[in-house]
């Protein structure tokens, strides 16, 4: 099958999922249900694109197909920020109830953290990218430990409400924030698209990329910042869900069997749409909210991850 056919197939599938989610069981509720569903679809779409895009570029610059940008510790930082707010201000604080405040605090904390980390690391001179990953993992574990420590001390009732923050949820996203997130993610995507062909060359490895005239250091830096912005925005909007990126990125590699990032990223984004919107439809209309999408994603993602590990170890 040609790449174009495969892409068209995915587009048709995404449109089918979106229409199913928007119109199934609507019963003529065009003023109430439809706008609310539309906001949710938009939230899922931009989250899906952000996660797929950031994971593919992150895997290309690290030359590793079982990593996700979450190794840089942004998810852990998000959880720490939330736990911190619950611990010191309580679940009734304005910082929790007002979704706008919460969104801005989370996104600014994550982006500032990422920029400081990169700045510090790149200032120390040229280091291999694995050094950066290692520092990311250590920071993530460190932040995670503080989070656990605070959670142990927290009031059990508060903890129950904090638990909702641990999993991504599309059930009560705020309309205004969706639009804002959409602007941030669209701008980032447009910025990143200029480097799409350089990314193809980066998959030949650092030395070959430099040989072919790619400004390696500059591209790696801008791609790291780009993936941090995408992850921070989607995490602040719906919660931690980066594990999901691993699935769609790898499915896209398997399905398209190409090195072209323009195809891989569009493909992975469309797969995200299908998985998130289709999955949410199943959760809402079939399981009638007895489970959450992120539980299903983590379950399927976990199985797929084990499959990938086994496959890679054989290769």
């Amino acid at each position: 099958m040609r790449t174009r056919t495969k892409l068209i197939l995915l587009i048709v599938l995404s449109i089918a999922c979106i229409s199913l989610y928007l119109f199934q069981g609507l019963n003529g509720s065009y003023d109430y249900a439809l706008p609310r569903r539309t906001i949710k679809v938009l939230a899922m779409a931009i989250t899906g694109v952000a996660i797929a895009y950031s994971t593919v570029i992150f895997q290309t610059i690290t030359h590793n197909r079982i990593l996700t940008p979450s190794v840089m510790g942004l998810d852990s930082l998000y959880m720490l920020v939330q736990t911190f707010i619950y611990y010191f201000f309580g679940s009734m604080s304005i910082l929790v109830i007002n979704k706008n405040y919460n969104f801005f605090i989370s996104i600014i904390a994550m982006i500032v953290f990422a920029l400081l980390l990169y700045r510090f690391l790149f200032k120390a001179g040229k280091r291999p990218i694995y050094f950066l990953l290692l520092v990311g993992i250590i920071m993530g574990t460190f932040l995670g430990s503080i989070t656990t420590f605070l959670q142990v001390l927290i009031d059990p009732n508060e903890f129950t409400s904090l638990q909702n923050k641990m999993f991504a949820s599309f059930n009560n996203v705020n309309g205004d924030l969706v639009w804002l997130a959409m602007i941030i993610i669209t701008l980032s995507t447009i910025y990143g698209w200029r480097y799409i062909r350089e990314l193809d060359v980066l998959s030949l490895g650092r030395d070959n990329a430099i040989n072919l005239g790619v400004n390696y250091d500059k591209i790696v830096k801008s791609m790291l910042v780009l993936s941090a912005v995408l992850i921070a925005t989607s995490t602040a909007l719906v919660g931690p869900i980066t594990f999901f990126g691993l699935i769609v990125a790898n499915l896209s590699y398997q399905y398209f069997k190409t090195y072209k990032h323009s195809t891989l990223i569009v493909g992975a984004s469309l797969m995200s749409l299908v998985a998130l919107i289709g999955g949410q439809w199943v959760v809402e209309r079939i399981f009638t909210f007895n489970t959450t999408l992120s539980v299903i994603i983590n379950f399927i993602g976990g199985i797929y991850f084990i499959y990938l590990l086994l496959k890679e170890s054989r290769a």
């Binding site: 197909r65 193809d200 998959s203 030949l204 030395d207 430099i210 040989n211 005239g213 790619v214 090195y259």
Partner: protein
């Protein structure tokens, strides 16, 4: 012309390349030889800006390689390292097409396609150009990478131990192609070699390194003699002339 001026590189406290100065002659094959750990590959990496020198400079057309624009430099100098691990699956043709990236930025035009065809033809890969790299033998893979460098169409071609893991037949094949590139297309080839006999038979100039310093350099016939080799390798190596090739018989010395 490439001029290397007093460049040094330290890994930790250990100097790997220590104030090396070399001029690369245009239109010739220059071989870097020397014992393991002499700094040959490090030197080549610095010349090709894969690695930054701690001190000193490398000049291409009298301006520092670090001041060259990345893509302009890649139209003049190409480098092929010895290990080329990739996590994407490519066919030979796709790989060779990447050689045109400095010119076309990924959008191939008719001129690019012509160059790609020529490079594939040059390396005798036309029959297998749509095969995937991971299905090829070591020799075919190496030829595919050299075809990419040929498609890149640079004046200078730098190769880091291209004969590694190749059998005699493929080694000779690749050295003959390099010779052809110099003689027919006027390229300048700089090559790191382990087998001193390949250096002796195929190169015009030899630069011998030891402990990070240039210990000898000059035309091949000045380096391939027992006295010079003794200094480079600490071995007594008798030399036999055969069909006007000087062969170093080092196996039992």
């Amino acid at each position: 012309m490439i001029q290397v001026k007093e460049i040094s590189k330290h890994f930790g406290k250990k100097p790997v390349v220590d104030k090396v100065s070399v001029n690369i002659q245009s239109g010739k094959i220059t071989s870097f030889i020397g014992p393991n750990g002499a700094g040959k590959s490090t030197l080549l990496s610095m010349v090709s800006r894969l690695l930054d020198a701690d001190t000193g400079e490398v000049l291409l057309d009298k301006s520092d390689v670090r001041k060259w624009k990345s893509d302009e430099f890649s139209k003049r100098v190409s480098i092929l390292k010895q290990s080329n691990y990739m996590n994407v699956r490519l066919t030979i043709r796709e790989l060779v097409s990447f050689g045109r990236f400095p010119y076309s930025k990924g959008r191939l035009n008719a001129e690019d396609t012509k160059m790609i065809d020529q490079a594939i033809e040059y390396m005798n890969l036309a029959d297998i150009q749509d095969d995937y790299l991971d299905e090829l033998s070591g020799g075919q893979r190496q030829r595919a990478f050299i075809a990419m460098v040929i498609a890149q169409d640079t004046e200078y071609i730098l190769l880091d131990e291209p004969l590694n893991n190749l059998d005699m037949k493929h080694s000779v094949q690749i050295m003959k192609i390099l010779r052809k590139l110099v003689e027919e297309l006027g390229k300048t080839v700089v090559i790191v070699l382990h087998d001193i006999n390949f250096a002796s038979v195929y190169s015009d100039y030899i630069v011998a390194l030891k402990n990070g310093r240039v210990i000898k350099d000059g035309p091949t016939h000045e380096i391939i003699n027992s006295d010079a080799l003794k200094e480079i390798y600490d071995m007594d190596i008798p030399i036999q002339e055969m069909n006007s090739c000087r062969i170093c018989v080092y196996f039992n010395s």
